[in-house]
Amino acid sequence: MLRWIGNALNSSVGKKIVMGLTGLLLVGFLVEHLHGNLKLYEGDGTGFNEYVEFLQGFGPLLVLAELGLVALFLCHIFLALRLTLENRQARKHRYAVRNNRGKESFGSVSMFATGALILGYLIKHLIDYRFADGFFDDPKGAVANTLSQPGNAVIYMIAAVVLGVHLSHGFRSAFQSIGASHPKLDAILDKAGIAVAVFFAVGFGSFPVYYLFFWSPSS
């Protein structure tokens, strides 16, 4: 009865549609994440504490949302592994000489590497905050404490840039994968893909820069 779903999801087209959709949903998460983080700049971070309290107020619903997020990540990561392995397998004998024609980009050829780096960063990020003792007592203090350490700040800056590189291909590519392509749309997407990448890299990258260089404990 449900075999058609399995067939569709296992096909090369089904896989890329799911990859694109989960990617776009994760970009949706990034939008809300950045929105929340920007409250760190509001009233010396008190806005951020209020935001965290607001989220905590959802109780079980928040746990449900977190589980949904975990499912999205797992789906995206599982497909990335599968696509990468299958695509390596598809050309066992490599070319002695290969030149591209300028269509593939640094972002497109490094998707797996940037994705793996983001996953590594994500684990550190969760340990730093979500699963850190006392984070929920004073969220803004925990952020300041982490990001004012040069080692951490540099890792967070690099992660923001890596995220931007991932999105420089991923955002544009997701629309193509779900079939949203049209001369009118493509012209916008080509620019929007880069704009989205820069937006998130600068947005998330601003926090370690701020806490490392412009923030002092007394302020």
Partner: protein, 260 residues
């Protein structure tokens, strides 16, 4: 013959993949070719090399070719790491030696993809494409004799898009150039071509599912939207067709009454 240009010749060093049969280990061999006329096509230059090899009692370099007019899709050479060589929208048979300089070294390899096994030297087996077409790249409606003009209206825009997709000659450059060895551009061109025309409608849903299944069964890679295929295509087939196939596949999966 008059004019100096016709008497100019070039010396070219070729590094060519030689493999005596499908099972044999191949290797790259070097050939020094003098007396290459800039007016020769790339394939004519290989003909000259082969004449010489035959004269020496050696095996000529096997390569696919047929019309030599750029419309049959037989030629399939990876030249200096680019499918059909350096020129845009040009098959290897239409690539001329005037694009090279005296003393150049040129690497020639066969298409590389598990789904395109090497048969001999530069010849690969592209019957995987035939099997994708056999899975649904046709209309079963008896076409009969030509009908009266305008009895079957087709929007101009759709006719143009279908014609653009139908320009695919099935050479396999898209697979060869794809970092993932995916066959999406080829398959999507065939799906798009028929899905845009009224004659293709009765089998529209079954076609896209059957052709994608057949493509996956052949062991091609998955498309990750590098778009190298479009840049390598000698007929300039657009990746817009891939997006169309993705839509067609999604639609067919949802509306088709088959539960298999």
């Amino acid at each position: 013959m008059s004019g100096d240009a016709s008497h100019e010749t070039m010396r070219i060093t070729l590094k060519v993949w030689r493999q005596s049969n499908a099972e044999a280990d191949g290797r790259i061999e070097t050939y020094h070719v003098s007396d290459v006329s800039p007016h020769m096509s790339f394939l004519e230059m290989l003909d000259v090399v082969n004449e010489r090899l035959l004269g020496q009692g050696k095996d000529p370099i096997a390569f696919d070719h047929d019309c030599r007019e750029g419309i049959c899709g037989a030629c399939s050479l990876m030249i200096d790491g680019r499918a059909h060589g350096p020129e845009a929208e040009t098959t290897a048979c239409q690539l001329h030696m005037r694009h090279y300089n005296d003393g150049d070294t040129i690497h020639v390899e066969p298409w590389r993809a598990n789904a395109f096994p090497v048969v001999r030297d530069l010849v690969v087996d592209r019957s995987a494409f035939d099997r994708i077409i056999a899975a649904g790249g046709f209309v079963s409606t008896p076409a009969g004799s030509a009908c009266d003009a305008n009895s079957l209206p087709i929007a101009k825009e759709n006719a143009e898009l279908a014609m653009d997709a139908a320009a695919c000659i099935g050479c396999g450059a898209c697979v060869a150039a794809c970092p993932n060895a995916a066959a999406m551009l080829f398959t999507s061109a065939k799906v798009a071509h028929l899905s845009l025309l009224p004659q293709g409608q009765p089998e529209r849903d079954a076609r896209v599912i059957a052709m994608v299944d057949a493509m996956d069964d052949e062991g091609f890679g998955n498309c990750t939207n590098h778009f190298e295929c479009m840049a390598a295509c000698p007929k300039g087939i657009s990746v817009e067709n891939i997006a169309r196939m993705n839509r067609e596949y999604l639609r067919a999966s949802l509306v088709s009454r088959s539960v298999e």
